[in-house]
């Protein structure tokens, strides 16, 4: 087993190991904690709807299949994984996002028994045509629930207008129509491709012993045929489909999501770029910025206002969301402030205060075993190490951040609005 030890100035350390099956394992011991948090994940999410294995022909699968598979993996021939965890007292869950599917548990007792269950049920799929069909009802209801959710719709409406072809524009759970095409064969096909240990990771944080976790992963996860997975994406134009979209739903105040599509030349963003854009967003309209204060005092935003750098394989955009009587005025003000910063530079004092605040936020993250575990999953998907963030942040300069203003181009912006239904 190949292994590396990483240490941070805060006193934490972790081991990253690669098992003979190709599985990557991260373990951080937190002996003062009562609990342990574990994730078994695969780099497979809703955007992986077309792929080839090795040099084979591309396979296109129905939208929402990664999420469907997540639901089905909880079942086995003799009961579901929930009932196995129920016997140990652990609290278990799973989620599917654009680029990953994660199965997780949190417990204070019998951690190795729980880990054994986790490693077992994720590697033992069991479904028949009948059990697959049964799930359509539950997932169909889940999809409908999201259709009624204004905060979900406002984001996806924006992404649908921002992207022509990239599957990030499609709802993670798919549609009632697309999931109707899912069958056991297709599920096995996706499973056998993406649930290969070389494409997977295990993260364990908390009151655990590293050696025990590593030897369990080595013993329980058998190697599969070494494969190379190629994601297939249609060409994505640099432009956006439309600059504006609106829908009416049951909301009291209009909701908005303003996105700026970024021109990208490579599939993934570098960590330094991500940190610089995150700082830049704070400088433009974070709580210390002049713009935030103005928008708040003018009654244009409230505490729901937020922003993020949304990025993953072959997609990247900045997003500003919130509730406002006048989403267009907020949009204009954000664009104006970006222009202003472009012309006059970044306020150095503001930059250093924000950088200091972000450093504190990174320290704070180490309070929670869950948060650390989720960050391991993030670093597994993107391929950097957990403590790199602090190192990179410390070295970032005001100039580095200024250069990232290139992520904002007015003609690549999309404003999505949810207006109140009559």
């Amino acid at each position: 087993m190949k292994r590396e030890i990483f240490e941070s100035p805060l006193g934490e350390s972790y081991v990253k190991a690669v098992c003979s099956s190709g599985l990557t394992v991260y373990v951080m011991e937190k002996p003062l904690y009562n609990s342990a948090f574990a994730i078994f994940g695969t780099k497979y999410g809703s955007i992986d709807n077309c792929f080839c294995v090795n040099d084979g022909e591309p396979t296109r699968v129905p939208d929402g299949i990664a999420h469907y598979l997540e639901h089905k993996l909880f079942e086995s021939e003799d009961g579901d994984a929930f009932s196995r965890f129920a016997r140990t007292g652990a609290s278990a869950n799973a989620f599917t996002s654009f680029d990953r599917t994660c199965y997780l548990f949190n417990c204070t007792d019998k951690v190795y028994e729980n880990l054994e269950i986790l490693l077992d049920f994720v590697t033992h799929p069991y479904f028949t045509e009948e059990t697959v069909l049964k799930e359509q009802g539950i997932i169909g209801q889940e999809i409908k629930m999201y259709d009624d959710s204004p905060s979900w719709r406002v984001t996806f409406n924006m992404l649908e207008k921002m992207y022509y072809n990239h599957p990030v524009r499609i709802d993670i759970a798919g549609t009632v129509e697309s999931i109707a095409r899912i069958n056991a064969d297709l599920l096995y096909k996706c499973y056998n491709t993406f649930y290969n240990p070389v494409n997977m990771f295990v993260c364990v944080v908390g009151n655990v012993d590293t050696e025990t976790v590593l030897s369990m992963c080595e013993k329980n996860i058998k190697p599969k045929e070494q494969i190379e997975i190629h994601r297939v994406f249609e060409e994505e134009p640099e432009s956006v489909k439309d600059n504006y979209v609106e829908q009416k739903l049951s909301v009291s105040l209009p909701m908005f999501c303003l996105g700026f599509k970024q021109r990208i030349a490579t599939p993934y963003r570098r960590l330094k770029s991500k940190i610089c854009v995150a700082l830049l967003l704070e400088i433009i309209c974070g709580e210390c910025s002049p713009l935030y204060e103005r928008l708040m005092n003018e009654g244009l935003i409230n505490d729901e206002f937020s922003f993020e750098y949304f990025n993953g394989y072959n997609y990247a955009c900045t997003m500003f969301s919130g509730e406002s009587e006048n989403p267009q005025a907020v949009t204009d003000a954000i664009k104006e402030e970006i222009k202003n910063i472009r012309e006059n530079g970044i306020d150095k004092k503001l930059f250093s205060a924000i950088k200091c605040g972000m450093y504190g936020d990174l320290v704070r993250r180490y309070n929670s075993v869950q948060e650390i575990c989720m960050q391991f999953a993030e670093s597994a998907v993107f391929g950097y190490d957990l403590f790199d963030e602090m190192k990179v942040l410390k070295a970032v300069t005001c100039d580095d951040v200024y250069k990232r203003l290139d992520v904002f181009e007015d003609e690549l912006s999309v404003l999505s609005v949810i207006n109140p239904a009559e």
Binding site: L10, K30, L32, Y33, N34, S35, F82, S83, F85, A86, R87, T88, G89, A90, S91, A92, N106, C107, T108, D109, I138, Q141, K144, M145, D147, D148, P150, G206, L249, S250, V251, S252, L253, M255, E287, C288, S289, P290, E293, M296, N297, G299, N302, D303, E304, E323, L350, A353, I354, C356, G357, Y359, G360, D361, V363, R364, Y366, N367, S368, V369
Partner: protein, 425 residues
């Protein structure tokens, strides 16, 4: 796990919750006041106004920049409902001095900042400034309105309103829009004075060590206030069963409907002796091993979510679910059938053991979360002893199946609230 209680003055106490695993210190001021329809909105607005500015930091940009320089110290505010009381919280969380880049002394500074915000607000001539008031009132009104957009929250809120029409617990935790609109700079100032003088105050500190002088300086501030008629926090009433089930249905433009049911327990309270009620509601509809999850959701596919929660201090049990319109009646019947099964003692060993294990496990997890731990000690109001999550876990382990059945037998349906999709035009 050691907890030290320091009685500060009349109706005020400090609780030091020692915990060495975190990289932060959390200090929370909890103010408890009786829920009162006339005053609820002004009280609820206070934590938000107080944590956006002060005499020293008259605008929130300056305040936020200061927080950022304190390594992103987090200031938070909330107004909650706890039994028949309103709980106003204001807190600051700051990273330990040893984690700063240049060994800066943040903790003392952060705590005095929070104190200044609460005790030295930005007021003039006995009034809060018009500008701050206007902004925070608008935000409060928008927040109340946005609850309407979240149908899950809205349905739950409507259920509680229907169940407690004439009692304090039915009051919305931040008041209604009309109440917020009526607040003036002067009335808010009066509310602030009343809060300081009459609220029961509990200051919780979750940290490796108790910051020096914290409780002494607090005592000095409180003793100058002439506190009198301080709120007694032990008087929450249980819920009386309904003579006849109250049924309310509303229709809206939606794809999915919501079904919310409210039940009463025979007893209520906040002590260690309510463990049976918690286990009962958990087996009914708590975790994925519960009757509602395994049968109504998984086997019958009647709802995407279907969960029971208990508010033991009020003797209240609620069930919330998301349903298709055509399944509304079927789901209600299925939920009631599971309750009948519980009453008649149909509890498998697996259901019972899973529930005990999951509940005790989740109580141990409290010690790993700063906010959960603080919240635990802020919520222990109706019982004279400040028992720990671990002690409550011990009580749960002592619960027997027959205790659960007995608790279930006392459960009565009170109100059914349904939010259903309108007919297609």
């Amino acid at each position: 796990m050691a907890v030290d209680l320091t009685v500060l003055s009349n109706g005020a106490e400090g609780i030091f919750i020692k915990n060495s695993r975190f990289k932060t210190t959390l200090v929370t001021f909890n103010f408890y006041l009786p829920l009162n329809r006339e005053k609820v909105a002004a009280f609820a607005l206070l934590p938000f106004v107080l944590t956006t500015c002060s005499k020293k930091y008259p605008d929130f940009r300056r305040l936020n920049t200061k927080l950022s320089k304190l390594y992103g110290a987090e200031l938070s505010a909330s107004a909650e409902k706890l039994g028949d009381y309103q709980l106003l919280k204001m807190s600051i969380s700051v990273i330990g001095d040893k984690y700063t880049l240049d060994n800066e002394q943040l903790t003392a500074e952060a705590i005095s900042l929070l104190s200044e915000l609460i005790f030295e607000p930005n007021t003039q001539n006995g009034e809060f400034s018009e500008n701050d008031l206007k902004r925070e009132k608008r935000k409060a009104i928008e927040h109340i309105k946005s609850e309407f957009a979240e149908k899950r929250l809205y349905s739950k809120k409507r259920l509680i309103e229907e169940m407690y029409k004439d009692s304090p617990y039915g009051i919305a935790k931040c008041g209604d829009i009309e109440d917020v609109e009526k607040i003036t700079g002067k009335s808010l100032y009066n509310a602030w004075e009343e809060m300081l003088k009459t609220a029961h105050i509990r200051v919780n500190v979750v940290s490796d060590s108790l910051p020096a002088g914290l409780f002494d300086s607090l005592n000095a501030r409180l003793s100058s206030l002439n506190r009198a008629d301080v709120t007694d926090i032990m008087k929450t009433e249980g819920t009386k069963p309904a003579a006849k089930t109250n049924r309310v249905t509303e229709n809206e433009q939606l794809k999915q409907g919501k079904l919310c049911m409210g039940f009463t327990f025979e007893k209520s309270g906040g002590g260690l002796d309510t463990a049976d009620m918690l286990v009962c509601s958990d087996i009914f509809g708590g975790g994925p091993y519960s009757k509602l999850f395994t049968n109504v959701r998984e086997k019958m596919s009647l709802c995407y979510y279907c969960a029971a929660r208990s508010v033991r201090i009020k003797g209240l049990l609620t069930v919330e679910s998301g349903i298709e319109k055509q399944n509304a009646e079927k789901a209600e019947k299925a939920i009631l059938l599971e309750l009948e099964n519980l009453k008649s003692g149909q509890i498998s060993d697996a259901e019972f053991n899973s529930s005990i294990l999951a509940l005790t496990d989740s109580l141990k997890v409290y010690y790993d979360s700063v906010n959960a731990l603080e919240g635990w000690y802020a919520s222990r109001i109706s019982d004279n002893q400040l028992f720990s999550p671990e002690e409550f876990a011990e009580s749960i382990k002592r619960v027997k199946k027959e205790d659960v059945v007995n608790a279930a037998k006392g459960i009565k349906l009170h109100t059914v609230f349904r939010l259903l999709p309108k007919e297609e035009q």
